[in-house]
Amino acid sequence: MKINKKSVLQLGVCIIFFGGLGILINNLTINLIRTGLGFNFTWLFKPASFALAEHPLPYTSSDSYAWAIFIGWLNSLKVIVSSLILATFLGTLIGLARTGKNFLLGIISAGYITVVRQTPLLLQLMFWYFVGFLSLNDNMFIQIKNIFNISNEGIEFSGLTFSSEFLALFLGLSVFTSAYIAEVIRGGILSVSGGQWEAFRSLGLSEREGITRIIIPQALPAIIPGLTSQYLNLAKNSTLAIAVGYSDIYAINDTIINQTGRAIECFIILLISFLLLNLVITNTMEIMNKLTLKSKKYG
């Protein structure tokens, strides 16, 4: 039998993969024996006995760990989805301003993109938290006819309250991601030939109408893959919640590990949570991609 290059390579990869897995499993058993905990998930149903500042559903410290983790999941989802929406909106506006004809807007958006991309996200979160919200002290709050209420406790908006922690993370993630999305949008728009702009202009269409009806539809196939990876980054970056004290899934699991020592179980929970979340994002974007490709029968 002739052994070709490909099967040798595959065998090599298999050996490395299973070897690595073996080492990890060995480490895991040794660690579990040492801590004397044993690998199980029954502790999930014991009372968590820690308080959570932020809970979209009812929660008290006598609720179970599982419920606390679920609340963390909801908190993560809340900040990820809302940041995703704001980041896309801001990013699109800035991306369009960057490509547009207006010189001043072009300069401002280029500056925004540069500053935001050149500073670490952690620093930006700290900025929003300490400079943006904590500096608003108790007696300095803004009130507009009881619908809009800003203080160092956060923002109250017609009955809904948002904590300073949530707002810092939400704004930080949105602004940070919007700069990257702006570049993705700009790249997509530049991929459409200049003749398309001339054609819609010569037909008397306004810039706004031309961009939405002619340019964006043709730019989407180039935009969606870049957008997907920015959304995945946003979801992963949301774990920096712990830096501003927002109780997302990562922060809650961190507390649980400190309390119970169940590091391995918690890591598995985190891993699966993010895998699921990112699968949802990837698949949604994949469906959108298919839709744009379908409407693009010319492809």
Binding site: S193, G195, Q196, E198, A199, F200, R201, S202, L203, G204, L205, S206, E209, R213, I214, P217, Q218, S295, K296, K297, Y298
Partner: protein
């Protein structure tokens, strides 16, 4: 009657010291066809693109269908001009994500706010005039170059323009596809459409034009009726250019 196009001393430089347009003046009367000729880089495209505001200019005045514009490039006036002036490009520039009929009805529906059924009816009429109504449901990349350019002409006609601009409409076509497009333009000329056509097709220019404007280095070298221009051009430079075209 007032002329359709009056340009006075149009001057434009993209880069300092290099004039793409140098004191260009011309007039196009209602129902007339002006053919613009000249070597590559002489400013032909720049000139006709100023007529519908795709290009600004630094000095001079332009009066298109009674709307006066100058170097300030008043967006509102430009927008009014574009509703009355159609343009056909060398590269067709059809919208690839829209069907042939949608390409044609886009501006009537969204610029002129016509009803969809009315826009489609007129669109189908224009396509049949161009002999391509059987392709209405197809997408641009399913058509040959000649067919695409005829769609582009129908699209330019959909706003019922009073002036049509053509920038080398057959330069991107296979030789055997050129005539179908030139014939369509000839028919428009016979119907009395006012047109400015940049072209290198001498035979076509002879039949269709009322005046030929010859440019070089952004300047108008001469403007003559076709029988004079093609047999006995006034300027040495024009004759040299025609000789070169003949030899190709």
């Amino acid at each position: 009657m007032e002329p359709i196009v009056v340009a006075k001393n149009l001057t434009k430089s993209y880069t300092k010291g290099l004039r793409a347009l140098d004191n260009v003046s011309l007039t196009v009367d209602q129902g007339k066809v002006l053919v613009v000729m000249g070597p590559s880089g002489s400013g032909k495209s720049t000139l006709i693109r100023t007529f519908n505001g795709l290009e600004t200019f630094d000095k001079g005045e332009l009066n298109i269908l009674g709307i006066k514009v100058d170097s300030t490039h008043d967006e509102r006036k430009v927008q009014r001009i574009r509703r009355k002036v159609g343009m056909v490009f060398q590269q067709f520039n059809l919208f690839p994500h829209l069907s042939i009929l949608e390409n044609i009805t886009l501006a009537p529906i969204h610029v002129q706010k016509r009803r969809q059924t009315e826009a489609e009816e007129y669109g189908m009429y224009l396509l049949s005039q161009m002999g391509i109504d059987s392709h209405a449901k197809k997408y641009p990349n399913q058509l040959s170059g000649g067919e695409q350019q005829r769609v582009a002409i129908a699209r330019a006609l959909a706003l019922r323009p009073e002036l049509l601009l053509f920038d080398e409409p057959t330069s991107a076509l296979d030789p055997e596809r050129i005539n179908e497009v030139l014939d369509a333009i000839r028919r428009l000329a016979e119907q009395g459409m006012t047109m400015v056509v940049v072209t290198h097709e001498i035979g076509f220019a002879k039949d269709v034009s009322d005046q030929v404007l010859f440019m070089d280095s952004g300047k108008v070298i001469e403007t003559s009726p076709p029988n004079i221009f093609f047999s006995n051009a006034r300027h040495e430079r024009s004759r040299k250019f025609l000789n070169q075209l003949d030899n190709q």
